[in-house]
Each structure stands twice: as C-alpha cells, then as structure tokens.
Symmetry: C2
Subunit: 454 residues, 2 copies
C-alpha cells in the first residue's frame, strides 16, 4: 500500500521555507514535509541581528522565531546542517549533503519549495579573509562580532556599505562603544532613498557620531603580521580598523534553481507567478531567492525582507495545502531606526519613477511629529512622489524623529491602492497633540505634491 | 466710489474661523475680513489644554497657533472680546457686543462664516457653581485649574466624564500629584470604542493609579461652608473631592445660527453641503458647530476635533476666495495617549455599524508593537470591523503601548477607500524589529476578520 499523502521537500529553513512548511502542514491535503537547512537554525529573523550585536537583544536565540524542535513537534521533518547540492526535475528528487558528516541523501518530492534565501555580497578583495573582517547575515556572524568585541576590545570599526544593514550595524557598533566609520561606494547612503532624503540620514548618523564617507569604494584591506585587519583602503582614503563589517547587502541565492533549469528573472531571483510558482509545475519559490511583482511598475522586482518572506511562504503553503492563494505583490515599503532617527519609504523614489517611465513630480515638506508645543515634538521630512496630471501617488519617503517611520504605512496603503495626492491630503488621520500636529505632516506633503502635479 | 472687495464676517476666532479667514485672505477675490471672537484669544488648540494642566506644556500661550497680532498683520480685522448676539439674514448683518465695554456694533457682510464652535455640557446640578468645580474648554479654564492646584494644594480630584477629555484630564491631574477618581455615567469609558476595547483603557487607567467608576451618574455636589466643593455624589456612591473637572464633552454652539433661521441638522450642528455651505447662500459653517458627512454611513455626523475644524475652515476660505473646494467628509478617526497607553479608532465601531444597518462582524487580536525580542515591545490589541460577505472594512480600534495609536492611520486610509479585509491583510507595511513585528498587528487583525466575514 502506498502512502497517499503528498511529499513536500523544502530547501531552506528560513522564515520563508518554514512558513511554507507550517502552512502546508495545516492544509486540507495530507502532507509529509522534509526541510533541508544548511545551518543549525530555523526561522531566523535576520533583520534582528544588528540588535544582537548592539546588545539590545541579549540572547541570540531570541531572533529564532521557532526552533527546529517546535517545527518537529508539528510533524515537520527538519534536517539541519544539510545543504542541498542539486535538484533533479526529471526524477523529482533533491540531493542534500550533511555539512557535519559529509554524507549525501537523495529525497524524492511531489512538491518542491525553493527557499534558499539570499547570500551576502562579498567581493574578492585583497585581505578580505583577514581576521576581524566579517559579514552580518547569520547567527554565527553576530556571535563572531560579539566575541571579537569581548575578546579583542577593538577600538575602531569600519562598516562597508551604506544601505539598511550598513547603517544599522554602524549604530550597533557605536552602541558597543566603538569609533565607527561608514564607507559607501555611491555618492549617497541608502540608495533606496532619493539623494535629498538620504542626506538627512547621513546628517543624522553624523550627529550620532558615525564618520560617513560616500564615494568611497573599498579596494582592499591591509593585514597585520598577526593576520588581523589593520586598515580599509578606499577611493576616499585609508581608514584604520580593528573590526570591519561587510554590509554590502545580499543577492538572491538562486544558483541551485538556475542549475536545475528553473527560470531566473532579470533581477537575478527566481521568476514566479502570482501563486509563487516557478515555471516548473509543483516547484515553488519563496523568500529572498524569489521575485515579486512590483505593484507600481507592474514589473518583477526583488526585495529581500522578512515580511515578504513570511508572506511568500504562507502563500506557497496555502497553495500546496489545497487553497488557492495569490501573492499580490510589493511596493517596496521599508522602515528603520538609527538612534533617534527614523526612516521610512514606500513605492518608487523620484529617480526610480522616472526610470520606470513615469512623468513624476515631488514635493518635500518639513513638519513635526507632534503638536509643536508638545514636548518631544521632533522635525520630520516627508517627500511624496506622484504622477503629473493624474496625481496618482507613486511613492513616499520619511526621515525624522520618533514616530516618523511607521507614518509610511498610511502612505503605503495609498500608494498600494492608487490614491491621488488630492484625495490623500483630505484624509481623516489621527490627531492628538502628543501624537500628531493638527495636520499630519504626510497630509501636508501630499497637498504640496498635489500642486506640483497640475 | 464703493469698495469693490467682498466683505467677509467670521463669527468665532477658533481654528476653524481663523483658518477660513486666513485662507480667504489669500484667495483670488479681494476681501475685507472681520472676525468677532468672544474670548481674548485666537486659534486656540483646545486639544492641548489637558497638557497645559499636566504641566507638560509649560506656557499657556503655546496652544495658541497664531495670535490676534499675527492675524492682524495679515490684514484680518480681529475683534476680541466681542460676542455675536444676532444674525440678520435679510439685512445681511451681524450684531456683536463687546463683553468688556458692553457696547454693540452692527457689521454688514457679503459672505458670513459661522465658526461658533462647541460649548461644554454642564448640567444644572446642585452645587455645580461651587468653588473648585470647573470645566476644561478654554485657556481661562486651564489657568483656573492651575491656580487652584498652586494655591489650594488640592489632594483629591474627581473627573466627571470618561470620554477623551475626561481620561486626558485624569492623567493630567495624576501628573500633578493628585489622587484622581474618574466617574462615568455609562457602563463603559470611551463611548466611541466598543466595550471590549474600552475595558482595556479602563484597565490602563487603573494601572496608572486612576480610580475608575462606571455607571456613576453624578447627581450633585456637596459644598462646604467656605463655598468650595467637598464631595461628588453619584449613582455609584459619594467621592470626596477638593477639585472637580467636568469633562462631559461638548455640544455644537449652533443657537445663533438656528435663531437666524439657518437649518440645523439632526445631530444638533449646522447642516452643511460638501462645500461647507449652510442652506443660506453666502453663509458658511466650519468647525465644531458644523456637521460633516460620515463617509462610511453616508449620513451627516458631528465630530468636534481640531483637525476637522482646520480642514473645514480651509475649504470655506478657498470657496470664499474663489476656488471651488469640497470637504470630502470624515470617518471618525481619533487617537489619544494616556501615560504609556495609546488609543486609536477609525470608522464605525461594531455596535455603531450594526445600528447603521450593516451586517457587521469583527475580530480582535493581541499582538506586539515591535518584534517580540526587541526591547520595549509592548502588547497591542487591534479590532477590525467589516461587512459580512463583501469584507469591506467599516472600522478599527487599537489599544496598546507606545507606537500603537498612529497605526490607526493605515487602517483609516483603508476604511476611507473601502478596502476589504482580504486586501488589507496582504499590504506591504513597514517592517523592522525596533518598529514592528514581521506581520504588523493590523495585518493579522484584518486577516482574522477576513475569516469572520465569510
């Protein structure tokens, strides 16, 4: 007698893979689920790692949303320390290798979920393998940085890369008492922000005490006789460093999928349809290795973010479990906090909108987070990007004090639903002196952009 | 030679009246503008008064958004201490009386703006005129409470009324070191919240140290031989009091308009059309004396709130100034903060929705304001109300820790635009551990409500 249940193999035990597995296991269709995860952890919230380094999250295991034991208790066969080295679409099998024992296992599947995540960008620069040069993508990375700080008491840190992870790590190392220099190849930090808004972030980091150098592409590391890094060499000069954190971001880990013949999109991530299916029947992709639809451009995009990974995984798990589910796409919403400074963005930036073919205009206002007479009212800059003529909102960016970043959500709902600046400026948003001025700054920004669209 | 400019008279120099005047003065049509204000202030942000009492706003004048001098510098003829006692629509004149000198003046108008605001509910109870019994609607009210606290060192305060102003005053007096009892006639606090959510506010006030009694209608005040209040007598017992703040809310100050023959709506406020015109040509109403369209019920509603007053005034001023402008309505969004507790609501409550004829369902979730591992993550309860079948979102309520209240704005945009729970639950909202869990709690609440609508 054959087992009538559907055999599901999941490659990758991150948020996307485990969400897919958990959701599939609760579906209408009977499943047996095997997850291969190459690390020793499941369901890691990678976005939490800078806060582990900062010391604001004391216990590394706190960023594990659900342990392998918990997943196993739900009937999911989680195999840690197993790296999948090949997918055979003909035979419908995957081959996994134990990174501990070196042995191989071949597992058949009816349904396959590819959740291989992202891998850090790590250019082959001279000296990059020196002691004290590390990434920040995994729990062992965070633990390594912690042990270097404890055991070697580094004084000067250089963070390479000025995107989200870079600025978050700069603050984290500052919190640990290091002198921090942030170097970025481009002429601005935070390339997902327009230059004018990115400059506000740069100024905010400066006030915190981070030394920021833009236009500073790294060309190598000087290594001491002890094998540890001494300086970081860049187009903008040499910077002494006892610790270097590479925060150049990530790219989709799509190699295994590509090798198997699954279609990779123009972003470098696995191409998916609205159900998060690849172009091979019964093979799904979820999380940082997969493309999403960008709802504003209508084109595929690639955003590595835990919130999408969770949603992708849920959609895949629902589809495997017998419920038709769609992932409706993303609009590039992102937030972060660096010290007192909060940053939010959604939709398209102005330059991005023009590149995407929109006749885009914008306005930026400076407002306050609370009634100006209320203690703790902080400056906030809000930029709204809209389409000339129609007034359709294409995107927005916010940089300001406490209470600024999550204001992007109201703008995100508006961008998502194609609202105009005119309509947004008249919305009924929450007002109370400790929480908002009588005109929320996002309303004023939308109103001014509304003048520019005419 | 006659003056070709339009003569505009504004009755009331609050936020609505002064916004109308300021906007009209910048219009395409030449205007002469006279504002009659019965107090000695203009553009008072009444919502700030509890924070003046609390001491968090140190200087009373900080809640004045723009002084009479500033308005006069913009060419607006502001006449303080002038109460309008009659409107003659036939003659197109108003009669105003100087509250200082007792003299009368009659002023003609081409366009009239009625911005008479709201007046506090103050029942004629025995003892209500005793010393130490006060309201909290004007700057003199706030100053009176301040001077009582300084000069008489009251130990026990009773706040009468458990709406926004009542709970805000309870916290303010607690901040000033008083023992505070809050008494409310209804079985729950915060009648704009559903009972389950209001109970969370009640519990929060209790944790702060406020003694809360619901079902406690006041029937009078015991007055000492010195003429000062001694106890507050209620249906739930007697409460000793050295200071009593009447926070029973306000009602529209529409008497002058009604007497002149202008149509008053079923809410008791002045009926308006989408341009904020009354039913008399050239006579406009704005602010706390005027009705608004409720976008969810499609019926007139009355909400006394500074943010609407400002928007009403702007629309009236634009229309007077020669630009066609509409006020698109309200959805009853409101927020407040009481200690660490934040409250937000928008659209219709569940009971309210049923009363309005909707087949309404709801779900409530308990989530966290930040990633659960991030320091300062606080519980937050989110309730979403939706229409059975269609899934259209009708309203939402939030009670929780820091960062909770303004999350209502994203829900407000959704309610405003008629989004479904299904669509909301898939939105791309901001995620970063210090600011939000990977699934924003509002997304989870919408998803669960989505199950209930089927």
């Amino acid at each position: 007698m054959t087992d009538p249940s559907t055999k599901v193999v999941v490659i990758g035990g991150d948020a996307a893979g485990m969400s897919a597995a958990a959701q599939a296991s609760r579906g209408r269709i009977s499943t047996r689920i095997v997850v291969f995860e190459r690390s020793s952890y499941t369901s890691v919230a990678a976005a939490g790692l800078p806060y582990v380094v900062a010391g604001s999250v004391h216990d590394t295991t706190r960023v594990v949303a659900r342990t392998p034991q918990e997943h196993r208790a739900n009937g999911i066969d989680v195999r840690l320390d197993h790296e999948v080295v090949g997918i055979d679409l003909e035979a419908r099998t995957v081959e996994a290798r134990s990174t501990v024992e070196g042995t191989s296992v071949v597992e058949g599947f009816d349904q396959l979920v590819i959740a291989t995540g992202a891998e850090p960008v790590r250019p082959r620069l001279p000296g990059i393998d020196a002691g004290g040069v590390t990434g920040i993508q995994t729990i062992p990375d965070a633990e390594l940085i912690g042990s270097i700080i404890r055991e070697r008491s580094p004084r000067r840190a250089v963070v390479v890369g000025g995107g989200y992870i870079g600025v978050e790590m700069a603050e984290a190392l500052l919190d640990r008492g290091l002198e921090v220099t942030l170097v970025e190849r481009l002429p601005q930090l935070m390339p997902t922000l327009d230059p004018d808004m990115a400059d506000l972030v740069s100024a905010g980091l400066g006030r915190l005490g981070v030394v920021v150098h833009t236009g500073a592409e790294v060309d190598g590391f000087e290594v001491g006789p002890d094998g540890w890094v001494r300086t970081v060499s860049t187009a903008a000069g040499q910077f002494p460093a006892d610790l270097v954190v590479m925060g150049l971001g990530v790219r989709p880990a799509a190699f295994i999928a590509a090798e198997a013949g699954i279609t990779i999109g123009s972003t470098g991530a696995i191409a998916t349809d609205a159900r998060m299916s690849t172009d091979v029947e019964g093979v799904w992709a979820a999380g940082d290795c997969a493309e999403s639809l960008h709802r504003v451009t209508g084109r595929p995009t690639w955003v590595a973010l835990g919130t999408h990974a969770n949603k992708h995984g849920r959609v895949v798990g629902l589809n495997i479990g017998g419920t038709h589910a769609r992932f409706p796409g993303v609009i590039g919403t992102a937030v972060t906090r660096i010290g007192e400074l909060e940053v939010g963005r959604t939709g398209l930036g102005e330059a991005e909108a023009i590149t995407a073919g929109f006749d885009a205009v914008s306005a930026t206002i400076e407002g306050e987070t609370r009634a100006d007479y209320y203690p703790g009212a902080a400056p906030v800059s809000v930029k709204v990007v809209a389409e000339r003529g129609s007034g359709r909102m294409l995107g927005a960016q916010i940089v300001g004090g406490e209470g600024s970043a999550k204001r992007i959500d109201a703008l995100a709902v508006a961008v998502w639903s194609g609202m105009t600046t005119e309509e947004y400026s008249q919305l009924d948003l929450g007002y109370a002196p400790p929480l908002s001025p009588v005109w929320d700054p996002t309303l004023i920004a939308a109103r001014l952009t509304g003048r520019a669209v005419r």
